[in-house]
Symmetry: D2
Amino acid sequence: MLNRTVLVGRLTKDPELRYTANGVAVANFTLAVNRPFSNQQGEREADFINCVIWRKQAENLASYMGKGSMVGVDGRIQTRSFDNQEGKRIFMTEVVAESVQFLESRNSNQGKQGGQPGNTSNQTQQNQGGFQPQQESQSSGQEPFDNAEPVDLSDDDLPF
Amino acid sequence: MLNRTVLVGRLTKDPELRYTANGVAVANFTLAVNRPFSNQQGEREADFINCVIWRKQAENLASYMGKGSMVGVDGRIQTRSFDNQEGKRIFMTEVVAESVQFLESRNSNQGKQGGQPGNTSNQTQQNQGGFQPQQESQSSGQEPFDNAEPVDLSDDDLPF
Amino acid sequence: MLNRTVLVGRLTKDPELRYTANGVAVANFTLAVNRPFSNQQGEREADFINCVIWRKQAENLASYMGKGSMVGVDGRIQTRSFDNQEGKRIFMTEVVAESVQFLESRNSNQGKQGGQPGNTSNQTQQNQGGFQPQQESQSSGQEPFDNAEPVDLSDDDLPF
Amino acid sequence: MLNRTVLVGRLTKDPELRYTANGVAVANFTLAVNRPFSNQQGEREADFINCVIWRKQAENLASYMGKGSMVGVDGRIQTRSFDNQEGKRIFMTEVVAESVQFLESRNSNQGKQGGQPGNTSNQTQQNQGGFQPQQESQSSGQEPFDNAEPVDLSDDDLPF
DNA sequence: TTTT
DNA sequence: TTTT
């Protein structure tokens, strides 16, 4: 059935890259999407939308985008439930990104570096928009993905 | 910022119609949206997506659609947080429907009736698709909205 | 770059199924999508949107849906140009359907028949919503695709 | 009926701002949207999608965005037909933008200037994303809309 | 060239 | 008639 979501927003923090037991990459991230209208106090609020992305695109996102980066996401809404530490069933809703477009990387130099757009490609045949962020800060030869924690994750939620 | 969701799914139960203290109608409902692929056990799963709809459309939805009805929704994702009974902060994600399209009403006769499409209109200038479900079961002269509980609800989440 | 379109509408005629020289199935169809508002004369108008769909889904669409059937489409806008008979460059815009959902087949018995939903599947792993139209008229043992014209078509527009 | 399109792309030229006889602003523009895959020659192509936008947002777009600017569009597909000079019926398809998000203005200094984001607002209650393009070139006190041609246009296509 |  |  039809289930389609398109978002443009900014990462609230660096994406969290992990690997399933089978070595499949997954990244979780939250998008702050500003609302187009003001609330009754006249303030602009934002929605904080949890997203997941799989495989190569997860790795690219973690390499090139960080806290504050602006991305476009095309995906679908997925709901899951699991039992938390207190044995209570928790329901969660997130967007499974089928493709991401890099619209702007964060412009600060501190924190995670941007990798080397020159020699690494953020383009995969299958999905994205090939926008090469120009204001990308790129200085160190830092190894990409080094903060990925290859923990034991189940492949259960793997789509397709 | 761009925030757009389009869904087609079935109501998991009758919509819950309420009114804010100012008399604004709101309906909450959950859509079961079947996934287009099977899981690792070869089963087809569904996502259960919480939705809200406001004003006239809330009333129309509650009048004409019930458990099992198929609807299309065009809206945006909204996140909210509130403190539950145990004082724990709960985050929730839902789709604010800006327009709904009635694709098929449930075909059973029991439970909530379909209202009188003949004299009540489910068409508003602003939004929807004017599909008049033909297999609509319509037999009783039951008053519409009679199961709406006009409780005290805040207008805080009222969009626009 | 983001390019996403979701439509729900009715086929203005039976889909036209063809095959490229390499045997790839393509179907063209037009969707009448009713507008949610009235024009200045107080009439409801519709948009007539050209769509294309490829491979297995093209065949399924041609087998099960016909003039008047209601479908949901999830795809992207594509523009093409070609030189017409008079040597004039023609620009056209159409929606490439990545997945279709069968919402309702036409309810008349005349014209193309609906095939045998009982033994043929309109579900493919990759895409659609598995809605089994219940009011489907199914009577003849008519061979599916028999009105497909396996003409010489180029694969140039084949996406992915 | 559901009819939703979301695009991110670049203006192929400066938007064309006009006014109807009743003084309603309309801007036409074309978006180049790069495809996420390569063709059989290994080249990346783009779709060139015609768009229209009405009222205040038309004026804002014309003031702040020009050839090469990147924008996000949330709207719906509309088809129209008219008879051309040779008396031939022409069908056209375009996207009616309900909201636009300014993602990046062109970074050149020549050509149309960017107006004064400081004192003019590109934010309207109704629609857009409030992104303030930071690399905006802003130097001249050029009057906004001065290249708008207040020609005689019909209000016929005015939506809502 | 348009659907219910 | 097309953008980076």
